[in-house]
Amino acid sequence: MLIDFQNVSKCFPHSTGRQLLRTHIARWFGRVHTEAFYALRNVSFRLEDGESLAIVGANGAGKSTLLSLAAGLTLPDEGTVQVNGRIAALLELGSGFHRDLTGAENLVLNAALLGLSKRRTKELFDSIVEFSGIGDFIDDPLRTYSSGMIMRLAFSIAIQCQPDILLLDEVLAVGDASFQEKSREALVALRRTGKSMLFVSHSPAAVREMCDRAIWMDHGAVMLDGSVSDVLDAYQGRSVMQQGQ
């Protein structure tokens, strides 16, 4: 078992926006009432070895919070999260990039952030550049790249560093049609080698192709955990019903 969520709840204070001295003082005098809102409520699920699990749900259902907990970015308020194995989180691609550094420099920095050693980075360098299709532009500063090129580079680094568990947040929509096809194939290949995935996507087709199981989430709670077709049917049925109202 790779990921185990048991009765996990996560709440965020409603007014976290401004961390100013004024706010803190007002709070001491009890003049600001911080309401908490639950991003996740009593969520339990498991990801087994070699399994690929999709998370579907409307915006604000708690999908991204769930991924951040699995990635170890934040801790649950209640319940336990257990993770065994090396995780690569493809959450917001390219968050570690700096526009004044070249593609190659960003590549190495990003690999280090993902936890690769110096030797491993050197070994993988060429295959990452090749997969990204960036070519000679790799030595140009990132600010000269198109947004598609940046995404392609970020995706290539994450996919080539071969983690045990891959967390994907709507990343199949990266690059042009041919790169999307290439990344899809790379993910399918990864799956075939027995890697596990936690896959957030709004595309039913991608979910059907990539995943064995799915969880439908709504307002922070698990609505249904089951086979991909059951969950997608239930989720889409609900969406259609809401649109009909």
Binding site: L73, G96, E105, L109, A112, G115, L116
Partner: protein, 254 residues
């Protein structure tokens, strides 16, 4: 959660800071040398021509012994304090240990420090001082100072996530420090009852010891050195403690 190569990561973050800072400057690292030299010139002019002081032949050297430590301290403290906020996108998306950001921020300032120390040692030689055995104290003194700054930056970068006004406190303190650290006046001018405070202030202690070694050519006072060592180790421990206490709240507040 994150099983990576810490050294490789920190080296890359330090390199990033360094490259980003200098890539868009035509003179590159020279800017790092220009600033203290200009300050040295201006202060020398003011305190030898306007507020003339006796014994002003070594004044440029004297001032530079104060400016280099102060520059390092203020810059490292200010940039370190905002290092968590600056890396917020990374902190929210990549599960790297949070310590690496303030630590690598201080380390990248150490690179500038190295350049400035080389400048200082060069000027020391220009002023006709010889290299002495006491120079061996320098790495030790600076090591303690860096330890102190790391502790300080760990604490302040964490608090700055919770209270964003912290950075303004730091910036104001830095302006005041120019006057409170003996840059352009001598330690002996300080009334005896305030000297204890000066010796605990690690920047002042550092300036004092730099002058002992580079200007006067003797070893720093044992008591000053001990105080610096104790203050640095305690600060580092306190910084680590505060950072550890606060780090779980970063995600929700960044």
């Amino acid at each position: 959660m994150w099983h990576g190569d810490y050294l490789f990561l920190i080296r890359n973050l330090v390199e990033k800071d360094f490259k980003v800072r200098y890539r868009n400057m035509s003179l590159g690292v020279l800017w790092s040398l220009l600033n203290p030299l200009i300050m040295m010139g201006v202060l020398t002019f003011i305190f030898t021509k306007i507020f003339a002081q006796p014994n002003d032949k070594n004044f440029p050297l004297y001032v530079l012994c104060g400016l280099v430590p102060l520059n390092f301290f203020t810059l490292a403290w200010a940039t370190g304090t905002t290092s968590m906020l600056e890396n917020a996108p990374l902190i929210k998306r990549v599960p790297v240990p949070r310590y690496v950001f303030p630590i690598s921020s201080v380390l990248s300032n150490c690179l500038h420090l190295l350049i400035q120390i080389l400048l200082l040692l060069g000027i020391v030689l220009v002023f006709g001082r010889a290299v002495t055995i006491h120079w061996l104290w320098l790495p030790l003194i600076w090591g303690l100072e860096i330890l102190f700054v790391m502790g300080l930056v760990l604490a302040f970068s964490a608090v700055n996530v919770y209270v964003r006004d912290t950075r303004y406190v730091v910036e104001s303190t830095n302006t005041v420090l120019f006057w409170l650290v003996p840059i352009f006046y001598s330690f002996t001018l300080i009334p005896a009852r305030f000297r204890g405070i000066y010796e605990i202030n690690p920047v002042a202690a550092l300036v004092l010891m730099m002058r002992n070694v580079l200007l006067d050519g003797h070893a720093p006072l044992g008591s000053t050195f001990t105080k610096l060592a104790v203050v640095s180790v305690v600060m580092f421990g306190a910084g680590l403690f505060i950072f550890t206490k606060l780090k779980d709240g970063f995600y929700a507040r960044l």
